[in-house]
């Protein structure tokens, strides 16, 4: 019988796993090093990509020349507002669906569940028309509200709220707490983990969303990062330094946030199981 822990086996296991992982993030490492090459630097061989000279002058260049910081600010405003509104609106609605026994409750729940099947991709023409008529094209609210309308958070939070013991509500009631108090002082604190996961997940999705901002934004000043970044990518120039710097600037916040919150993000994915 072969030994599962033989040294050769271990070497193969480790080298294969690590090699694959390193190869997989290699393009990201390349992006970092390419952004550090002086603009116009001719790279003769692969290894030269990764050797000095390094320079961070591209970063200043890009920030000077293009409104990248403005785009980042736009993305931040949109993603933060979406996250904030999703957390408030979804938790309120989920609370009503979980705790209050009201007329048409089932109708409302089914209506929200149906919305999970509606993709923005198949709705863009009419959404454009409606947002235009509301005068919201090329504005922050025009980017924010279509994302807030996705009911996923309600469905997940309702399940969480359903698991909170009903005794807590009864005793709070006896103490004279109103519904808002119960929502705010009992349900929200008890669901912190779930809300954090939904929040982080919503933020990433909003931060990276492309199609709708691409259609709804008309001016360069209102670009979000994903819409602005491609204006630098040009397949026909051999100078990679500037576009790769833009890529790095656009990615760093997401990468840092991921490394900080990777546990919650991974939990969030397990909970939602939905792709953007």
């Amino acid at each position: 019988m072969e030994n599962n822990n033989s040294p050769t086996r271990k070497v193969i296991k480790y080298s294969f796993s690590y090699l694959l992982a390193v190869l997989f993030i290699f393009p990201i490492i390349w992006m970092l090093f390419a952004s550090l090459k002086p603009s116009g630097f001719h790279v003769a061989s692969i290894i030269e990509w990764f050797l000095p000279p390094y320079s961070i002058v591209n970063y200043f260049d890009v920030i000077d020349r293009a409104p990248v910081i403005r785009w980042m600010f736009n993305s931040l405003v949109v993603a933060t507002s979406v996250t904030f509104l999703v957390i408030i609106f979804d938790s309120l609605a989920a609370f009503a669906l979980s705790v209050i026994d009201f007329k048409y409750k089932n109708v409302v729940f089914v209506l929200f569940t149906v919305g999970l099947m509606v993709p923005t991709e198949a709705n863009v023409v009419a959404l454009f028309d409606i947002v235009n008529k509301l005068g919201l094209l090329n504005t922050y609210p025009g980017l924010i509200f279509p994302r807030v309308a996705i009911p996923l958070g309600i469905i997940i939070l309702k399940e969480f709220f359903d698991a909170i013991p009903r005794d807590l509500i009864d005793s709070a009631r006896i103490d004279g707490c109103g519904l808002f108090r119960i929502y705010f002082s009992i349900f929200m604190p008890l669901s912190k983990a779930a809300i954090a996961s939904i929040g982080i997940f919503t933020f990433i999705q909003a931060w990276n969303s492309f199609l709708w901002p691409f259609i709804a934004i008309m001016t360069k000043e209102m670009f979000t990062l994903p819409v602005g970044v491609p204006t630098f990518t040009d397949a026909y120039t051999p100078d990679y330094s500037i576009p790769m710097t833009v890529n790095m600037i656009a990615s760093t916040p997401a990468i840092v946030a991921f490394l900080l919150f990777q546990k919650q993000i991974i939990k969030g994915i397990k909970m939602t199981g939905i792709k953007g």
């Binding site: 309120l92 026994d101 007329k103 023409v125 028309d129 009911p151 492309f210 990615s251």
Partner: protein, 295 residues
């Protein structure tokens, strides 16, 4: 008693209103109403500047005879067929790698997942430079291995599809890996211990214990992947622009170009509505399937 309960419920509805109203308003305006508005627009000829011209089902009749519609729908289907098995299986393999008894698991997990947090714009940009014909990283590597010829990755249909599928896999496979990892961690250790007692090899453990137990989650992941792949647009738009020619143009891109570049919003809306029906059908199938699996 019954009338009393009805009264309470009616009263409760007023109490529930402030909780459900904020979301419901946004939901109705920005998600539900657009469906009906889209259907209405699809029955008109409309260029945004002029008035809407009611044309009945003309747009749909035109669509059925429009070869570009069928080509782009076919391209989307081709992408679903190419990408789904590749991304689901790679996700499983990565999850199995991360689930080994190995030091530095966290490093492996983070590496495989990291591209997922990048914006599609960044992913596409990296891919464009990776596959650039003259100074791209991949062609330089190939040259070092003695490949003399310059490969135009985005110049040929098959290669362009390869790049798009590869880009999507690189970008999103971490998501499937996480779902698989969660399922793997749910398998009780005792199953494997029992197998070890019986003298099973690693491969037998994988084949007879792990894979059969992963069947339900594989269905879920596959169906999620199918829906995600159906909606493909951004990667193609940013990497090949739909080219060479229109060989990789997906349906979402054709809808976008028809509606916003050629200003035929009526025709764009009719294709969008058709696409919506297709996606709902896939989702309904998924829900039905999940129910049957669970029940």
């Amino acid at each position: 008693m019954d009338t009393y309960r009805k009264l309470v419920k009616k009263y409760n509805f007023l109490k529930a209103l402030p909780f459900i109203l904020p979301f419901t308003i946004v939901y109705l305006i920005f998600l539900i109403f657009p469906i009906f508005r889209g259907l209405w627009i699809s029955l008109h000829r409309w260029t945004m500047v002029r008035k809407m011209d009611f044309v009945g089902l003309d747009n749909y009749l035109y669509m059925i005879k429009d070869p570009a519609f069928w080509e782009s729908l076919g391209n989307t289907l081709l992408f679903v067929v190419l990408s789904t098995p590749a991304i689901v299986i790679t996700g499983l393999v990565f999850a199995l790698i991360c689930n080994q008894k190995i030091k530095g698991q966290l490093f492996l997990k983070i590496s495989f997942f990291l591209p997922y947090v990048l914006s599609v714009a960044v992913v596409s940009s990296i891919m464009v430079y990776l596959f650039q014909p003259h100074s791209g990283l991949l062609n330089s590597v190939l040259q070092n291995f003695g490949v003399d010829q310059t490969i135009y990755w985005l110049g040929q249909d098959a290669l362009a599809w390869f790049v798009i599928v590869f880009a999507t896999l690189w970008w999103t496979v971490g998501f499937n890996m996480i779902l698989y990892l969660a399922a793997l961690q749910d398998i009780p250790e005792s199953f494997y211990e029992a197998a070890k007692v019986d003298g099973a090899t690693k491969f037998q453990e994988l084949w007879h214990i792990t894979l059969p137990l992963l069947k339900p989650i594989t269905w879920v992941i596959t169906l999620l992947q199918i829906i995600f792949s159906f909606k493909i647009f951004a990667q193609v738009w940013l990497i090949t622009g739909g080219g060479p020619g229109t060989a990789t143009r997906p349906i979402v891109q054709y809808i976008y170009e028809t509606s916003f570049k050629e200003n035929s919003l009526g025709y764009g809306a009719s294709m969008a509505f058709t696409f919506f029906i297709v996606l709902v059908a896939v989702s309904v199938f998924q829900i039905y399937f999940r129910r049957r699996k669970e029940g």
